[in-house]
């Protein structure tokens, strides 16, 4: 069974209770935020801050409005972090779809930061390892819902079986359309095989307003690096080694006595 989180952005009131619950459950050290002229707690995600409510200020129909969105790991079906990771077992994708970092196997190379199309993983300067939302895998493993879901007071956040949540997202989208939000829709980008964090947006034509990329996918240079370049490398390395070996077998070493310049004078005496 694939599990997922549904985020109905139209119901978010910006209370930030999910941020507190995330910090509490994951026992994060306290970090002083910075004031950037916004109601947002922090300017960005951090290695010890995995769930940020973005207070995007957007102009709609001539009026300023807050477009709130939950910024966290999307738990992609085709995850860019896993595609980029060189260390076996450092990033796992569980049978329920959760993408989780296993820190004893993480080497801190940071390739996952480059591979992620949503810019989520963050390197800790202290441990030199990378951190992000675990979908509370330590809670879901024992049948509990993630901490952010548990605490949400408006039912903006729900957790459950992915297919079921997609169905309720469709129902909610129809409601919004009937309410006059003609652009309402679901954010579940196909470029990464769908995500296990699904959004309902009241304007799905402009996901950028919510801080979500329009067509996220595993970067083509990452695919090149892990695909065709690997084949090219194997061909060049094995070709050089086998080529050298068989050159020696067929032609042998260079020998001045056998292969010398016939027109050259023989050796001189000093």
């Amino acid at each position: 069974m694939i599990v997922a989180k549904l985020i109905d952005t139209t119901l978010c009131i910006g209370c930030k209770a999910c941020e507190v619950a995330c910090q509490e459950w994951n026992d994060q050290e306290y970090t002083l935020g910075t004031f950037n002229g916004s109601y947002q707690t922090m300017p960005d995600l951090a290695h010890n801050f995995w769930n940020l409510i973005r207070f995007n200020e957007v102009e709609r129909n001539g009026a300023q409005s807050w477009v709130m969105s939950k910024y966290q790991c999307m738990h992609c079906a085709e995850a860019g972090c896993i595609a980029a990771c060189p260390a076996p077992g450092a990033i796992t994708q569980m049978a329920n779809g959760t993408v989780d970092f296993v820190h004893e196997n993480c080497i801190g190379c940071g390739y996952c930061i480059t591979g992620c199309p949503f810019d989520v993983p963050r390197l800790s300067p202290a441990t030199k390892k990378v951190y992000k939302c675990s979908l509370c895998s330590d809670r879901t493993a024992v049948g509990l819902e993630p901490a952010c879901i548990k605490t949400c007071p408006t039912n903006c956040l729900t957790f459950g079986e992915r297919d079921e949540l997609l169905r309720s997202a469709e129902i909610r989208t129809r409601e919004l359309k009937a309410d006059g939000h003609a652009q309402a829709g679901i954010y579940n980008p196909a470029g990464v095989g769908g995500t296990n964090v699904i959004y309902v947006l009241n304007d799905a034509t402009q996901p950028e307003q919510y801080g979500l990329p329009k067509d996220p996918e595993i970067p083509w240079t990452v695919r090149l690096w892990k695909g065709p370049l690997k084949a090219l490398g194997a061909m060049v390395f094995m070709g050089s080694i086998l080529g050298a070996f068989f050159h020696y077998v067929i032609f042998g070493p260079q020998d001045p006595e056998k292969h010398g310049h016939p027109e050259e004078e023989p050796t001189h005496e000093a």
Partner: protein, 210 residues
């Protein structure tokens, strides 16, 4: 003194140390780099303390290699420009590979193949350094640059390692006594005359031999 007792100095101690610093840092950077490329080759990391260790050491071995490449450039660049003979030599690479040395124009201190190796290592070394620094600091570098570097770094490494594999074959099995030249620094007149005739003539004239 008979000629076959004469030792022609080919690489002084400075050049030998330079070469072996480049060689050792290259081998270390190449093996750890392959481990960091793909989980398939991750076992190579255990040769040097595991993934967490090589994530720290690989960039520094690359920096050391780059410094030595810069040092080599200062020392050798002037002797590495291709002359007219070298350009003809390159078109007859097949003759060189099949031991038809009579069909080749004479080489100087370095033959055209060695010169091409030098320039290719300078080019790939520079690319590896620049892309490597970008990958070293993922959180400080802009994403577009990192995405370019993540493909450029292995591409340059493939070219670089491929060239060095051929270089190792040439220096060990294919050209007898070249290993002694780079380890102890000298070659025999016969070796010099066969492999590097123009360089040999310069030595012969300066040594006042008829």
């Amino acid at each position: 003194m008979k000629l076959d007792e004469i030792r022609i100095p080919r690489f002084d101690a400075y050049e030998r140390v330079m070469h072996w610093m480049a060689a050792l840092s290259f081998v270390y950077a190449a093996l750890t780099g392959l481990a960091l490329w793909t989980p398939v080759l991750y076992w190579l990391a255990s040769l040097s303390g595991g993934g967490f260790v090589i994530r720290g050491t690989h960039p520094w071995s690359g920096v050391l290699f780059s410094v030595v490449i810069g040092w080599m450039y200062r020392r050798w660049a002037k002797t590495m420009y291709l002359d007219a003979d070298d350009r003809v030599w390159l078109t007859r690479l097949d003759k060189y590979a099949t031991h038809q040395h009579g069909a080749l124009p004479p080489s100087g201190r370095f033959n055209a193949g060695q010169k091409m190796l030098f320039w290719s290592q300078v080019a790939t070394g520079l690319l590896l350094l620049v892309s490597g620094v970008v990958l070293w600091f993922p959180e400080e570098m802009p994403r577009g640059l990192r995405l370019a570097a993540i493909a450029a770094h292995p591409l340059a490494a493939i070219g670089s390692i491929g060239g060095i594999l051929v270089h190792i074959y040439m220096g060990t099995a294919a050209v007898p006594h070249s290993m002694r030249a780079i380890l102890r620094g000298w070659v025999s007149p016969e070796w010099a005359r066969f492999h590097h005739p123009k360089w040999y003539k310069v030595w012969r004239d300066s040594a006042n031999l008829r």
